[in-house]
């Protein structure tokens, strides 16, 4: 073969075509057509690699874009196929810059330089600069602009966390949208700006950083809290949890307002949470006063980094945890998917919203800004009483 390969050969060879992924794939569930299943897409990749389909084949273009990239196919794969990296390589070939829609170009441009990402955070205040012995808090790119409270609350939940303003985008956005090399470069730049363990409130970023910098360099918030909590309780150095007596009803009200307004902790009257982790004997609270809370997993956090028990455990400490039937399945946000394919995204979201309504939960917790935005918009559109909030918001308000 004269041309350089598009795909890493051993990644593509790993698939044994058994089809076990079909039942896990949200797009296959929509169409029932092999071509929109992970196995079908891998066969498309093989056809592209081996020249059986031309690069401009319309089905290749369509399926590389129809795929959510949620990686739900990976945990069920008996052969250990790493679909995520394959999809990134596919899009790197399939989506040359000139064919990208303007919206996507805008996003990639805005996050491509550190100063632009910093500028995104200027209008609203994210976590303030702080020194500490703990992990380096990642402020995110769009999270700075859309949900600046999340990093402020995360900094409260992890008092030792270090915060610096000089940091850019992790590059997940680029890697998932056809700029694989730049995506890796940005992750490495961020790894230099935050030279220790990187603490992130975004599941998608956690997975991308883990893939580039190594799993041990990255901790998602829930993972960090559970790990450090476990260490504290086994070491016997548990801080006193006196603040736990705050009325649950008041907390609920506070959380509801923060969920709506983007959480201003100073207004909720909550004290800085120096008491994390709480002694387990003060939990759980009596269930009749606890809000019912569901979770939307972050696909990449769950499927690539294997983090899913942790957010459930943390929610269970402060509220009545309700497992939504499809908590582990994509909500349709899928990074830029909701922007690029809004109609498909909404079909996927609608089923989820029906489920949330049936479960009668007070809150749905997200652990990724994209999911948070998607759920908030969907719930608002339906006029639902359920609020979508970030895990940091739930813990900071109900935990104090």
């Amino acid at each position: 073969m004269s041309e350089p390969p598009i795909f890493t050969e051993e990644l593509l060879d790993r698939c044994i075509s058994c089809g076990f992924c079909l039942s896990a794939c949200p797009t296959y569930a929509l169409t029932g057509e092999e071509v929109s299943s992970p196995r079908g897409r891998i066969n498309l990749m093989r056809a592209l690699e081996e020249g059986r389909l031309p690069a401009d084949d319309p089905t290749l273009a369509e399926e590389s874009s129809f795929c959510l990239g949620c990686r739900a196919c990976e945990p069920v794969c008996p052969a250990g196929v790493q679909y995520g990296p394959l999809l990134e390589e596919w899009r790197a070939r399939q989506w040359p810059p000139r064919t990208r829609p303007l919206r996507l170009r805008g996003l990639l441009w805005a996050t491509n330089r550190r100063w632009r990402v910093r500028a995104l955070g200027l209008p609203r205040r994210h976590a303030r600069r702080r020194r500490g012995p703990g992990p380096w808090l990642m402020l995110g790119c769009f999270e700075r602009a859309l949900f600046p409270a999340v990093s402020r609350l995360a900094a409260r939940l992890v008092p030792g966390a270090r915060v610096v303003a000089r940091q850019g985008c992790c590059g997940a956005l680029h890697a998932h949208n056809g700029e694989l090399a730049r995506g890796h470069e940005l992750a490495r730049e961020l790894g230099e700006a935050l030279p220790g363990v990187i603490l992130t409130t975004s599941g998608g970023c956690a997975a991308h950083l883990a893939a580039v910098l190594g799993r041990d360099r990255v901790r998602e918030l829930s993972e960090w809290l559970v790990e450090s909590g476990a260490a504290a309780s086994s070491g016997g150095a548990r801080p006193d949890g006196a603040a736990a007596s705050t009325g649950a009803a008041a907390s609920t009200g506070a959380a509801a307002s923060t969920g709506e307004t983007g959480a201003r902790p100073s207004e909720t009257g909550a004290r800085p949470s120096e008491t994390w982790p709480r002694p387990s004997e003060t939990w759980p609270r009596p269930s009749e006063t606890r809000p019912r809370v569901g979770l939307q997993d972050s696909c990449h956090l769950r499927n690539a980094n294997g983090v899913w028990r942790e957010p459930r455990e943390l929610i269970g400490r402060v509220a009545e945890y309700v497992e939504l039937p499809s908590a582990s399945r994509c909500c349709g946000a899928a990074g830029t998917y909701a922007l690029l394919r809004p109609r498909d995204s909404r079909v996927i979201l609608d089923a989820k919203l029906d489920e949330i309504a049936a479960a009668e939960v007070d809150y749905v917790v997200a652990v990724n800004p994209g999911c948070l935005r998607q759920l908030r918009q969907g719930l608002r559109r339906r006029g639902s009483a359920t609020r979508a909030i970030h895990l940091a918001e739930l813990l900071a308000t109900l935990g104090d």
Partner: protein, 507 residues
């Protein structure tokens, strides 16, 4: 299931009139695809068989949204779960009801176009590879569970119902659908029937054919008929239902099924034992059955599998052992306890060691992990995994594994064998790098010898995977000329135009 509101708009990324345009005819120039290093095309087929008008005619029957002829879609329907077999169809259509299936078959019969029915495409014998082109008839849209009749302990369902979903629905009513092929989370129920799928519970509960009571089927003339029903006893006419089990889509397209359910067991238990020699494990199995215990699970791993699983999964298996036996029972709690200790005892008496019975469900899952990890672990050793399923009478299992080991050594191949010790169903699994010179010929020779050995020991070339394209050339050696001729005449009676999955099985 196709969601009504799903956008069928062209890809916003490419900007081209691409994507979900289902009625784009593929036109002329259909020929054999170029050679492919991973998956050589097995059979040539006449070019341009279907013609450009086919898509339009199919669209008239099933609707434009449910026909695909774009090269990309054809590419993905060119394969199933079988390695080394690939051939593109001319069109794929997705009927939504029996009437549409019948109309498609009538059209195909008139024109002599091959029709290959397909569920989830998880079969391992290339039964759904359209090697003569034509129409792939995908039944995934017909996926409704029509009735769960607890009083008669039967379920009535459309062909595309996922096996695991049927199992869940039955479990909700305290019932069990026993066949549990490895692919049950993905496979369709009609696909299970068409291949007569087996699974881990074969010894105690039997296989798919033991649970099919009736079906609706469209035969090759386009006629729709019903055979069997909800009745346990029914001798009116020949048992066509049973004939359709394992017919691999060569006799008819199943459009509805009635399956038998049984009461779900109250509890289950799992244990393991190691043996230095597989023959000892075989003797332990004989002793277990002689003692009057009919276990639900009796699985074994040979030494190669043990070593490979430990290398890749690192779950603490003893690699100094020659074999691992996993045994399990279901039923009433007290009865299980007795059976489990009898089985543990039988293992110990036959030089078993490291005998362990799980205390909890979680522990049981851990013990079963070894079995689940075999195929993934083996497949990581090389790019190509060939999973076979020659079977022998239970008592000759150890002898068969010895033969397989000798054949593997002779051809310098890595073949791990695992499978169902209770019913003699073996899975010799060969992993190779197809880029190596001449390796595929060696694999072919080795498996020909393995099939011959199985027949010599009174076994079969396929216990549960089927014949399809993959083992077509070996079938005659098992069945003989007269048997093959009868099968051919049977096929002609169901499908006079020879359009239903032609060239497979005995046709």
């Amino acid at each position: 299931m196709r969601a009504g509101g799903l956008s069928r708009a062209a890809s916003s990324l490419s900007g081209a009139a691409a994507g979900r345009s289902y009625d784009r005819a593929r036109g002329d120039g259909i020929g054999p695809p170029p050679p492919d290093r991973r998956a050589p095309v097995t059979t040539q087929r006449p070019a341009g068989l279907a013609g450009a008008g086919l898509a339009g005619e199919l669209a008239e029957i099933v609707g434009g949204d449910h026909v695909r002829t774009d090269a990309g879609a054809l590419e993905t329907f060119a394969r199933d779960a079988t390695p080394l077999h690939r051939a593109t169809p001319d069109a794929i259509c997705f009927p939504g009801e029996t009437r549409e299936v019948a109309a498609v078959i009538e059209l195909a019969a008139e024109r002599g176009i091959p029709v290959v029915p397909r569920g989830s495409g998880t079969n391992l014998c290339a039964a759904t590879v359209p090697h003569r082109g034509g129409i792939v008839l995908s039944l995934t849209r017909m996926n409704r569970l029509l009735e769960l009749d607890a009083a008669n302990m039967v379920a009535v369902c459309q062909p595309g119902v996922i096996t695991a979903r049927l199992g869940e629905a039955a479990a909700e009513r305290g019932l069990l659908y026993p066949p549990d092929p490895g692919s049950r989370a993905t496979s369709t129920i009609a696909g299970n029937v068409a291949t007569c799928a087996g699974g881990l519970r074969g010894l105690k509960y039997g296989v798919t054919r033991d649970y099919v009571l009736g079906c609706e089927v469209v035969i090759g003339t386009g006629e729709t008929l019903r055979c069997g029903g909800k009745l346990v006893k029914d001798v009116a006419g020949l048992d066509l239902t049973r004939l359709l089990c394992g017919s691999e889509g060569t006799l008819g397209v199943i459009t509805e099924l009635t399956v038998r359910l049984v009461p779900a067991a109250a509890a289950n238990a799992t244990g393991v034992a190691y043996f230095s020699d597989l023959a000892d494990a075989g003797r332990a199995v004989s002793q277990i059955l002689a003692a009057g215990v009919l276990p639900v699970t009796l699985e074994f791993l040979d030494h190669t599998c043990l070593e490979t699983v430990e290398e890749f999964a690192g779950i603490g298996l003893r690699t100094d052992a020659g074999a691992l036996l996993i045994f399990g029972q279901d039923g009433a709690a007290e009865a299980i306890a007795g059976d489990m200790s009898a089985m543990a005892e039988a293992c110990a008496q036959n030089n078993g060691f490291g005998v362990e019975i799980a205390d909890s469900d979680a522990d049981a899952q851990e013990l079963l992990e070894a079995r689940r990890a075999v195929l993934p672990s083996l497949s990581r050793r090389a790019p190509l995994t060939i999973l076979e399923d020659a079977s022998v009478p239970r008592a000759r299992l150890a002898e068969m594994v010895q033969r397989i080991d000798a054949i593997a050594a002779e051809h310098d191949l890595l073949i791990g064998t695992f499978g169902h010790a209770g019913d003699g169903n073996l899975h010799p699994t060969c992993v190779v790098d197809p880029a190596q010179d001449g390796v595929l010929q060696r694999v072919e020779q080795a498996f020909a010898q393995i099939f011959a050995a199985a027949l010599e020991l009174g076994g079969t070339i396929s216990g549960e995977h089927g014949i399809g394209l993959a083992k077509r050339d070996h079938l005659r050696s098992q069945l003989g000329d007269a048997h093959m001729r009868l099968l051919t005449r049977l096929k002609a009676a169901f499908d006079p135009a020879d359009i239903l999955n032609p060239g497979k099985l005995a046709s």
